[in-house]
Amino acid sequence: MQGNDIVDLLLAQTQSNWRRKGYLDKIFNANEIFLVSSAENPDVMVWLLWSMKEAAYKIHNRKTGIREYAPKKLVCSILSKADLTLGMVNIDKAIYFTKSSINSAYLHTISSPVQHQLDKIKISIYEFPNHLSNYRNTKPACVSHHGKYLALTY
Protein backbone atom coordinates (compact mmCIF):
# COMPACT_ATOMS: atom_id res chain seq x y z
CA MET A 1 0.00 0.00 0.00
CA GLN A 2 1.11 3.53 -0.68
CA GLY A 3 -0.15 7.07 -0.33
CA ASN A 4 0.64 10.39 -1.92
CA ASP A 5 -0.31 14.01 -1.44
CA ILE A 6 0.47 17.14 -3.42
CA VAL A 7 0.13 20.76 -2.26
CA ASP A 8 0.03 23.59 -4.78
CA LEU A 9 1.93 26.13 -2.66
CA LEU A 10 0.58 29.18 -4.47
CA LEU A 11 -3.02 28.03 -4.02
CA ALA A 12 -2.39 27.04 -0.40
CA GLN A 13 -1.26 30.60 0.29
CA THR A 14 -4.66 32.03 -0.69
CA GLN A 15 -6.87 29.04 0.16
CA SER A 16 -5.87 28.57 3.78
CA ASN A 17 -4.97 31.07 6.45
CA TRP A 18 -3.20 28.82 8.93
CA ARG A 19 -2.28 31.90 11.00
CA ARG A 20 -5.93 32.21 11.94
CA LYS A 21 -6.48 31.98 15.71
CA GLY A 22 -7.05 28.38 16.81
CA TYR A 23 -6.19 26.87 13.41
CA LEU A 24 -2.90 25.14 14.20
CA ASP A 25 -4.21 23.92 17.58
CA LYS A 26 -6.89 21.91 15.76
CA ILE A 27 -4.49 20.11 13.45
CA PHE A 28 -1.04 19.96 15.07
CA ASN A 29 0.29 18.70 18.39
CA ALA A 30 2.76 20.71 20.50
CA ASN A 31 5.88 19.33 18.82
CA GLU A 32 4.51 20.02 15.34
CA ILE A 33 3.62 23.59 16.33
CA PHE A 34 7.18 23.97 17.59
CA LEU A 35 8.51 22.76 14.22
CA VAL A 36 6.42 25.45 12.50
CA SER A 37 7.38 28.27 14.85
CA SER A 38 11.08 27.44 14.66
CA ALA A 39 11.14 26.86 10.89
CA GLU A 40 13.00 29.12 8.51
CA ASN A 41 9.94 29.05 6.27
CA PRO A 42 6.86 28.42 8.45
CA ASP A 43 4.49 28.21 5.43
CA VAL A 44 6.45 25.37 3.91
CA MET A 45 6.65 23.58 7.29
CA VAL A 46 2.85 23.78 7.73
CA TRP A 47 2.22 22.21 4.33
CA LEU A 48 5.01 19.68 4.73
CA LEU A 49 3.49 18.37 7.98
CA TRP A 50 -0.01 18.53 6.50
CA SER A 51 0.96 16.55 3.39
CA MET A 52 2.72 13.95 5.57
CA LYS A 53 -0.52 13.53 7.53
CA GLU A 54 -2.61 13.35 4.37
CA ALA A 55 -0.33 10.82 2.68
CA ALA A 56 -0.31 8.62 5.81
CA TYR A 57 -4.07 8.94 6.30
CA LYS A 58 -4.70 7.75 2.74
CA ILE A 59 -3.08 4.40 3.57
CA HIS A 60 -4.52 4.17 7.07
CA ASN A 61 -8.05 4.91 5.87
CA ARG A 62 -7.88 2.17 3.21
CA LYS A 63 -6.32 -0.30 5.65
CA THR A 64 -8.73 0.22 8.52
CA GLY A 65 -11.85 1.46 6.69
CA ILE A 66 -12.06 4.23 9.31
CA ARG A 67 -12.99 7.61 7.87
CA GLU A 68 -12.51 10.50 10.28
CA TYR A 69 -11.18 14.03 10.48
CA ALA A 70 -8.65 13.68 13.26
CA PRO A 71 -5.40 15.31 12.10
CA LYS A 72 -3.94 15.45 15.64
CA LYS A 73 -4.04 11.65 15.89
CA LEU A 74 -1.49 11.56 13.07
CA VAL A 75 1.78 12.41 14.80
CA CYS A 76 4.61 13.59 12.54
CA SER A 77 8.34 13.30 13.09
CA ILE A 78 10.94 14.56 10.68
CA LEU A 79 13.83 12.13 10.41
CA SER A 80 16.15 13.89 7.98
CA LYS A 81 16.19 16.91 5.74
CA ALA A 82 18.29 17.09 2.61
CA ASP A 83 17.08 17.30 -0.99
CA LEU A 84 14.24 15.10 0.15
CA THR A 85 12.64 15.20 3.57
CA LEU A 86 12.23 11.83 5.25
CA GLY A 87 9.63 11.54 7.94
CA MET A 88 7.44 9.24 9.96
CA VAL A 89 3.78 9.45 10.92
CA ASN A 90 2.32 7.50 13.86
CA ILE A 91 -1.38 6.86 14.21
CA ASP A 92 -2.73 4.57 16.93
CA LYS A 93 -0.23 1.71 16.73
CA ALA A 94 0.57 2.07 13.03
CA ILE A 95 3.66 3.72 11.56
CA TYR A 96 3.96 5.15 8.06
CA PHE A 97 7.15 6.42 6.49
CA THR A 98 7.17 9.47 4.25
CA LYS A 99 9.41 11.08 1.68
CA SER A 100 8.72 14.65 0.56
CA SER A 101 10.10 16.77 -2.22
CA ILE A 102 9.72 20.52 -2.05
CA ASN A 103 10.23 23.20 -4.67
CA SER A 104 8.94 26.75 -5.01
CA ALA A 105 5.75 25.66 -6.78
CA TYR A 106 4.64 22.51 -5.00
CA LEU A 107 5.29 20.10 -2.19
CA HIS A 108 4.81 16.38 -2.74
CA THR A 109 4.83 13.54 -0.20
CA ILE A 110 4.70 9.79 -0.70
CA SER A 111 4.04 7.32 2.10
CA SER A 112 4.47 3.64 2.81
CA PRO A 113 4.13 1.36 5.84
CA VAL A 114 7.56 -0.08 4.94
CA GLN A 115 10.45 2.38 4.77
CA HIS A 116 12.48 0.75 1.98
CA GLN A 117 9.38 0.52 -0.22
CA LEU A 118 9.44 4.33 -0.58
CA ASP A 119 12.27 4.05 -3.10
CA LYS A 120 10.20 1.72 -5.27
CA ILE A 121 7.27 4.11 -5.68
CA LYS A 122 7.08 5.66 -9.15
CA ILE A 123 5.85 9.26 -9.24
CA SER A 124 4.30 11.22 -12.12
CA ILE A 125 3.40 14.88 -11.58
CA TYR A 126 1.44 16.84 -14.16
CA GLU A 127 0.87 20.57 -14.27
CA PHE A 128 -2.38 22.01 -15.64
CA PRO A 129 -3.22 22.26 -18.54
CA ASN A 130 -0.96 19.31 -19.37
CA HIS A 131 -2.84 16.78 -17.26
CA LEU A 132 -3.01 13.19 -18.31
CA SER A 133 -6.71 13.08 -19.19
CA ASN A 134 -7.15 9.32 -19.09
CA TYR A 135 -4.96 8.77 -16.03
CA ARG A 136 -7.41 6.28 -14.47
CA ASN A 137 -6.53 3.88 -17.31
CA THR A 138 -2.93 3.87 -16.14
CA LYS A 139 -4.16 2.32 -12.86
CA PRO A 140 -2.31 4.56 -10.39
CA ALA A 141 -2.04 3.21 -6.84
CA CYS A 142 -2.81 6.64 -5.42
CA VAL A 143 -4.05 9.94 -6.89
CA SER A 144 -3.68 13.42 -5.43
CA HIS A 145 -4.94 16.62 -6.95
CA HIS A 146 -4.54 20.18 -5.72
CA GLY A 147 -4.69 23.42 -7.67
CA LYS A 148 -2.65 23.15 -10.86
CA TYR A 149 -1.11 19.80 -9.97
CA LEU A 150 -2.03 16.17 -10.44
CA ALA A 151 0.22 13.61 -8.76
CA LEU A 152 0.01 9.91 -9.54
CA THR A 153 1.97 7.13 -7.89
CA TYR A 154 2.44 3.56 -9.04
Binding site: Q15, G22, Y23, Y69, K73
Partner: protein, 87 residues
Protein backbone atom coordinates in the same frame (compact mmCIF):
# COMPACT_ATOMS: atom_id res chain seq x y z
CA UNK B 1 -31.99 25.05 17.57
CA UNK B 2 -33.82 23.37 14.69
CA UNK B 3 -32.13 21.28 12.03
CA UNK B 4 -33.37 23.71 9.37
CA UNK B 5 -31.86 26.72 11.14
CA UNK B 6 -28.54 24.91 11.51
CA UNK B 7 -28.52 23.90 7.82
CA UNK B 8 -29.21 27.53 6.81
CA UNK B 9 -26.30 28.73 8.98
CA UNK B 10 -24.03 26.00 7.61
CA UNK B 11 -24.75 27.06 4.02
CA UNK B 12 -23.38 30.53 4.80
CA UNK B 13 -20.36 29.11 6.61
CA UNK B 14 -19.48 26.61 3.86
CA UNK B 15 -19.95 28.94 0.88
CA UNK B 16 -16.40 30.42 0.77
CA UNK B 17 -14.86 26.93 0.83
CA UNK B 18 -16.81 25.13 -1.90
CA UNK B 19 -17.18 25.74 -5.62
CA UNK B 20 -19.98 23.18 -5.89
CA UNK B 21 -22.74 25.79 -5.97
CA UNK B 22 -25.56 23.41 -6.91
CA UNK B 23 -24.67 20.95 -4.15
CA UNK B 24 -24.47 23.87 -1.74
CA UNK B 25 -27.90 25.21 -2.73
CA UNK B 26 -29.48 21.80 -2.16
CA UNK B 27 -27.50 21.08 1.01
CA UNK B 28 -29.09 18.30 3.04
CA UNK B 29 -28.22 16.13 6.07
CA UNK B 30 -26.65 13.61 3.71
CA UNK B 31 -24.24 16.03 2.08
CA UNK B 32 -20.61 15.02 2.53
CA UNK B 33 -18.10 17.88 2.88
CA UNK B 34 -15.32 16.19 0.95
CA UNK B 35 -17.10 13.81 -1.44
CA UNK B 36 -19.98 16.11 -2.41
CA UNK B 37 -18.81 19.66 -1.68
CA UNK B 38 -15.18 18.92 -2.68
CA UNK B 39 -13.92 20.96 0.26
CA UNK B 40 -10.16 20.92 0.66
CA UNK B 41 -9.25 19.04 3.84
CA UNK B 42 -7.21 22.02 5.10
CA UNK B 43 -10.37 24.15 4.87
CA UNK B 44 -12.40 21.75 7.02
CA UNK B 45 -10.53 23.31 9.97
CA UNK B 46 -11.93 26.70 8.94
CA UNK B 47 -15.44 25.27 8.92
CA UNK B 48 -14.92 23.81 12.40
CA UNK B 49 -13.61 27.20 13.66
CA UNK B 50 -16.47 29.07 11.95
CA UNK B 51 -19.03 26.71 13.53
CA UNK B 52 -17.44 27.30 16.95
CA UNK B 53 -17.70 31.07 16.50
CA UNK B 54 -21.19 31.09 15.01
CA UNK B 55 -22.75 28.82 17.62
CA UNK B 56 -20.58 29.83 20.58
CA UNK B 57 -19.47 26.26 21.23
CA UNK B 58 -16.14 24.49 21.64
CA UNK B 59 -15.55 21.47 19.43
CA UNK B 60 -13.20 18.88 20.93
CA UNK B 61 -11.04 16.57 18.81
CA UNK B 62 -13.39 13.58 19.09
CA UNK B 63 -16.34 15.65 17.87
CA UNK B 64 -14.28 17.18 15.06
CA UNK B 65 -13.28 13.68 13.94
CA UNK B 66 -16.92 12.98 13.02
CA UNK B 67 -17.54 16.24 11.18
CA UNK B 68 -17.38 14.96 7.61
CA UNK B 69 -21.08 15.30 6.81
CA UNK B 70 -23.82 17.84 7.44
CA UNK B 71 -25.70 15.32 9.62
CA UNK B 72 -22.68 14.69 11.85
CA UNK B 73 -22.14 18.45 12.15
CA UNK B 74 -25.78 19.03 13.14
CA UNK B 75 -25.43 16.29 15.78
CA UNK B 76 -22.29 17.89 17.20
CA UNK B 77 -23.85 21.38 17.30
CA UNK B 78 -27.08 20.15 18.90
CA UNK B 79 -25.31 18.08 21.53
CA UNK B 80 -22.96 20.96 22.42
CA UNK B 81 -25.91 23.31 22.69
CA UNK B 82 -27.57 20.72 24.90
CA UNK B 83 -30.60 20.88 22.70
CA UNK B 84 -32.02 18.03 20.68
CA UNK B 85 -35.40 19.61 20.13
CA UNK B 86 -36.82 20.79 16.86
CA UNK B 87 -37.07 17.47 15.02
Amino acid sequence: MTKEAIIAALKTIIKPYSEETIVLETLSENTDFIKDLKINSANLVDIVLDVEEKFGIEIDNDSMAKMLTVQATIDVIQSKLGNNAGE
